[in-house]
Amino acid sequence: MEAISRSPMYRARRALNFSLQKYAAIMRVSIANNLAYVMEVLFRALMLVVLVFVLGQLWTTTYATRGVTTLNGFSISDMVWYLVIAETIAMSLPQLTRRIDQDVRSGQLAYLLGRPCNYVFYNFAQYLGERLVRLAINGVVGAVVALIFVGLPHFTWMGIVAWPLVTLFALSIDFVAYFSIGLLAFWTEETSSFALIFNRLTLVLGGVLAPITIFPEPLRSIALILPFSTILYGPSRTLVHFELDQFVLLVLHQVITLVVGGVILLVMYQVAIRRVNINGG
């Protein structure tokens, strides 16, 4: 028995178990913390009503003017549901960069670094908890709006099954990007401008206003190659218009983006952690 408990395999499994429990607990606490101001999130989600209404009207006019019922395979119903899903993801983004920036500048980092947990994973679990609360509320509000405007969606069961996976990857890509930008606080005086640029690029090139496939060339090809498309366009299209080959390509694109972004983040983190210059003292 003792031999088993000392084996590297046993120790690795035990450590993994503790880690999973640890980060799951952080995510649970983060969800609870964000549910404390659920009304604020709900009111913010109401902005979806305005956005979907305006964009829905624009697309209805476009379809009517061109005298078509579909655009690149998207009916007006698909288009509205696409917009709702893309906006649901886009509007669920918490102020991650600002939190990391504040942690670095205020010295709050000291508490987290002094604990037996990884600062990056701690923040990922916290971010995920925060984002899931917003995503759920936005999703409910958006679904109600879309149901009223265009009725039931034409989702396939494969799309419904695949969507959580690609959305989780999309949220992870956002985390890697905004966390890395937050780490820039170790080198720069101001990080919010970088976060703003990334956010606007995600909205414009990520396909929040329209599916990227209806963009004109060469913008379409450029946008499809860039990582922004894996955050909004990819997951939204997966649910509205599931195609297996597109799904496989999307997952591949997301994994490559995550691996490259993750390596950049870890390198930045390793360098940054040696530059810790916590306030006070």
């Binding site: 640890k22 952080i26 002094g114 604990r115 810790v276 006070g280 003292g281």
Partner: protein, 373 residues
């Protein structure tokens, strides 16, 4: 064996200099200039298990930087340190299971949630056995008397209540060493006293080693047995608190608001022309006290009277009693000398003892500096 060993530990920060004005900002942008700042000059000391150490100094002296190096958060520029046999910045994760740190100006409690949730989370983070954790939590909740706050969102707790919860949270995993960085900062007198009592209590109950930084002399006097004074990153004194009290914390400032005009208690010394307190000390209480020569009048205006009392020559109690015999005291504040004054006294003492080196800094090995030794 020492629980903390520090040998020539130093930390230098590189800070960007920025000249004033628009041209200065532009110049700084194009050709930034950096300045090296020695936050901690090479310091050495050790701490035995169960010791209560006050690591004190004014703002910017290097206290927090030292704590952060000892907890593994900051990498030192040079030198060695060992905490519980581990090198903090190389074995931070391993060390974090055995130490705790509480920062008075920062909170580890989740703002919108009751402390109970943070406690549960910490149990997971420190990988505690849940049955053991529940027992430990009950014990700490009782000792710190925080049962009523455990289900109140942290944002609704007062600073004193929050700090008690912070301390209890830090002790959940039974640390061997606890680093307290300004734990009483911003607290009122009663809350401060409560925190000091609790720190003393936990040391007695659990035998935990306490490393406390503060610039409040009261924390040191009431909680610790040994004090290290740090200034400009250098240790200028390492002595028992009893010595510190006797030599450097002996003068108390007493601020009185009297029912009678203050001048009725004073008379002018014909030799010096200075005002003196003119009251008869109750010799039945302190027979050795013959007069008020340890009492200096700092300010007397209207009904307000401010005295500096050298407690090594005249204890506080008979002076206050004598004033009370004469007239009613409407309000009274007793304060320790500010940290800057204590440090100035230490330097002054060292200078008189001839222990000052070329750059006016007291040598690191400050034990011989204690006055009257």
């Amino acid at each position: 064996m020492s629980i903390i060993e520090v040998e020539a530990l130093a930390k230098t920060f590189k800070t960007r200099e920025r000249a004033a004005g628009l041209s200065g900002s532009l110049h700084s942008f194009i050709a930034p200039r950096y300045r090296q700042r020695e936050a901690v000059k090479p310091i050495s000391f050790s701490l035995e298990p169960g010791e209560l150490l006050a690591f004190i100094g004014p703002n910017g002296a290097g206290k927090s930087t030292t704590i952060k190096m000892l907890t593994g958060i900051l990498y030192p520029t040079s030198g060695k340190a060992s905490v519980l046999g581990l090198t903090p910045w190389q074995q931070r994760r391993k060390l974090s299971f055995r130490i705790a740190s509480v920062y008075g100006q920062k909170s580890q409690l989740w703002y919108h949630l009751p402390p109970q949730d943070t406690f549960d989370l910490l149990a997971r983070i420190y990988e505690l056995d849940m049955a053991e954790y529940r027992k430990r939590r009950s014990f700490l909740v009782e000792v710190f008397d925080i049962e009523d706050y455990m289900r109140t969102p942290a944002r609704k707790l007062s600073l004193g209540e929050r700090m008690r919860c912070e301390l209890a949270a830090a002790l959940l995993h039974k640390p061997s060493v606890i680093f307290l960085d300004e734990p009483t900062i911003g607290l009122d007198v009663i809350a401060k006293q409560r925190i000091r009592d609790l720190i003393g209590h936990l040391q007695v109950e659990e035998g935990v080693t306490v490393f406390l930084t503060s610039h409040d002399a009261g924390d040191i006097e009431q909680v610790c047995r040994r004090a290290i004074v740090i200034n400009h990153g250098e240790i200028i004194l390492d002595a028992p608190v009893a010595k510190l009290k006797r030599d450097y914390l002996k003068v108390k400032t007493v601020d009185l608001l009297l029912e009678e005009p203050a001048h009725t208690l004073l008379k002018t010394d014909s030799n010096t022309g200075k005002q003196r307190l003119s009251v008869q000390l109750p010799t039945s209480i302190h027979e050795e006290i013959q007069d008020t020569e340890g009492v200096q009048v700092l300010k007397a205006k209207g009904h307000g009277l401010k005295l500096a009392i050298d407690t090594s020559r005249t204890p506080l109690e008979p002076v206050i009693a004598a004033v009370m015999q004469h007239c009613h005291i409407l309000d009274m504040t007793i304060a320790d000398p500010p940290m800057e004054e204590i440090i100035a006294t230490i330097y002054g003492q060292a200078s008189r003892d001839g222990n000052v080196n070329g750059n006016d800094h007291v040598p690191v090995d400050a034990e011989p500096l204690t006055a009257g030794e």
